[in-house]
């Protein structure tokens, strides 16, 4: 890892998308997702336009389609559920190749597929072009409560520390001849999860002492708050704003 500060979802780059301020990208993502969610499912053309918009952002940022495709696997469990809907949904029914299919179920499945995919791809693009500290700083600037930003920051910071600890505990178990693989051996895993919780709790206390020792009094120091350039705002919000317009048109068209 040459950069030393990359995370698995990040694609290192210097594109115009990478350079946009984090808070604008977070705001853009929220706006885009809101537009997608508000779009009536039958407005197929609108979802086509959203896909094109996402494609443009991915192209500008130089994020390979393969990378996005792989990361999209996260939605597979939800889609499996969605695929069942046409077969278990309510009337009216239609038939396809002799199989009875619920129209409402089909529409619900399509809604999940289209909206979830748009949201997931947009999130992947945010994560791929924005370092975690930038996302956290962006949340801060968007006035997300400081406690929540701090908790998210600690989670990111200590995820690896705690997973390393878990790894060491597993090695210690394996070294003494115990490698739980089967479901009925889950008790050992549960016990080690308990031990891990205690260890993490104690670490939390030590971290707090270290914070207090450096003058912490209950509020995290604020970060840079210089206003964003108008051009950056325009760039970051262009596609989400177009998506908003598309959503409004689709809503009007559906009446």
């Amino acid at each position: 890892m040459s950069g030393g500060h990359a995370h698995a979802l990040h694609v290192h780059g210097h594109s115009s998308v990478h350079k946009l301020p984090g808070h604008l990208k977070v705001a853009g993502l929220l706006l885009f997702v809101a537009a997608v969610v508000a779009t009536p499912a039958r407005a197929l053309w609108a979802f086509g336009l959203y896909a094109i918009g996402l494609g443009v952002v991915a192209g500008l940022a130089g994020i390979p389609a393969r990378f996005i495709g792989k990361r999209m696997l996260i939605e597979v469990p939800f889609l499996l559920f969605a695929l069942l809907l046409p077969f278990v949904g309510e009337a009216p029914y239609t038939s396809f190749a002799g199989i009875r299919i619920s129209e409402a179920g089909l529409l619900a499945a399509w809604t999940i597929l289209a909206k979830a995919s748009c949201g997931v791809v947009a999130s992947i693009l945010l994560a791929a072009t924005t370092e975690i500290p930038e996302i956290l700083a962006g949340m801060n600037r968007l006035r997300v409560p400081a406690a929540i930003v701090a908790i998210a920051g600690f989670m990111v910071r200590y995820l690896e520390v705690i997973s390393d600890e878990m790894g060491r505990m597993r090695v210690a178990m394996a070294a003494r001849g115990y490698e739980p693989k089967m479901f009925w051996q889950i008790k050992a895993l549960a016990t080690s999860a308990g031990a891990l919780f205690i260890r993490s709790y104690e670490r939390g206390e030590r971290v707090y002492l270290a914070m207090v020792a450096r003058g912490f009094q209950g509020t995290m120091p604020t970060t840079d708050d210089s206003p964003a350039a108008a051009i950056d705002i325009a760039r970051a919000l262009a596609i989400p704003a177009l998506a908003g317009i598309v959503a409004v048109l689709a809503l009007v068209g559906a009446r």
């Binding site: 030393g4 500290p133 200590y158 971290v207 002492l209 450096r214």
Partner: protein, 245 residues
């Protein structure tokens, strides 16, 4: 020389009733480097947590640079006394090195360009300026410990308190940290089991046992007293000969 730290009749017991400190008296002059030895459970960490106001003196007085430690002075004392904890993963809790080093001075009211300068100069002092935008968990233990020292230096403390600074470091990291500590122009208090490290860095040492100061002497003299060391579960490493150092 002016007095940097004065501890008078300090006693402390934990809620369970364990008497961790039992009448500690200790004076450290400005610019001194003092090592604190003692067996596990002797009260070393409890003592240093009092120097920074993490523990408030229940019985006795702690004075830092002439300022008595109490509820009103605690923030100023925390600025004056920088604590470097044993595990850098406890000390480095922010997403990036830059934010972590800025945490202390920002809490003490430093902002803007001065804050940026403090961060850069503290990291330069420990030779870690290249890591300014990296995440702490991507650094080696030696690098993390150096950054931990920088997080404290950024508040421009008068006294640096280190808990087991050389523990778990590989020999090269241990030496690099010693070089950095030797160059700092601050009073140093170092809790350690690493007696040769103390000999290298600290001209004076004290032994704490059962919550009391049982010895206070020049490090070389103290380490030469084998009977004293043995009585307090301290030992020089195998093959270490004071006469040849």
């Amino acid at each position: 020389m002016s007095t940097s730290i004065a501890v008078r009749g300090l006693s402390f017991s934990y809620p369970g009733g364990h008497q961790a400190l039992d009448g500690v008296d200790l004076t450290i002059e400005a610019g001194e480097r003092v090592a604190i030895f003692g067996p596990n459970g002797a009260g070393k960490t409890t003592l240093v947590l009092h120097l920074n106001g993490i523990h408030m003196p229940a019985d006795g007085v702690v004075t830092v640079g002439g300022l008595p430690l109490d509820e009103k002075s605690v923030m100023e004392i925390r600025r004056r006394v920088g604590m470097v904890f044993q595990d850098p993963d406890d000390q480095l809790f922010m997403p990036t090195v830059r934010q972590d080093v800025a945490f202390g001075p920002a809490n003490f009211g430093v902002a803007g360009d001065e804050l940026d300068q403090r961060v850069v100069s503290a990291l330069t002092a420990v030779g870690m300026e290249h890591a300014i935008d990296r995440a702490p968990h991507h650094l080696s233990l030696g690098e993390r410990r150096r950054v931990a020292v920088a997080t404290v230096l950024a508040s421009q403390p008068e006294i640096l308190v280190l808990d087991e600074p050389s523990s778990n470091l590989d020999p090269a990291s241990r030496r690099e940290l010693a070089t950095i500590l030797a160059e700092l122009d601050v009073t140093v208090v170092m809790v350690t089991h690493d007696l040769p490290y103390a000999l290298e860095l600290c001209e004076r040492s004290i032994i704490l046992d059962s919550g009391r100061v049982v010895a206070d002497a020049p490090t070389r003299e103290l380490l030469g007293n084998e009977a004293l060391l043995t009585a307090h579960r301290l030992e020089l490493p195998f093959g270490f000969d004071l006469r040849t150092v």
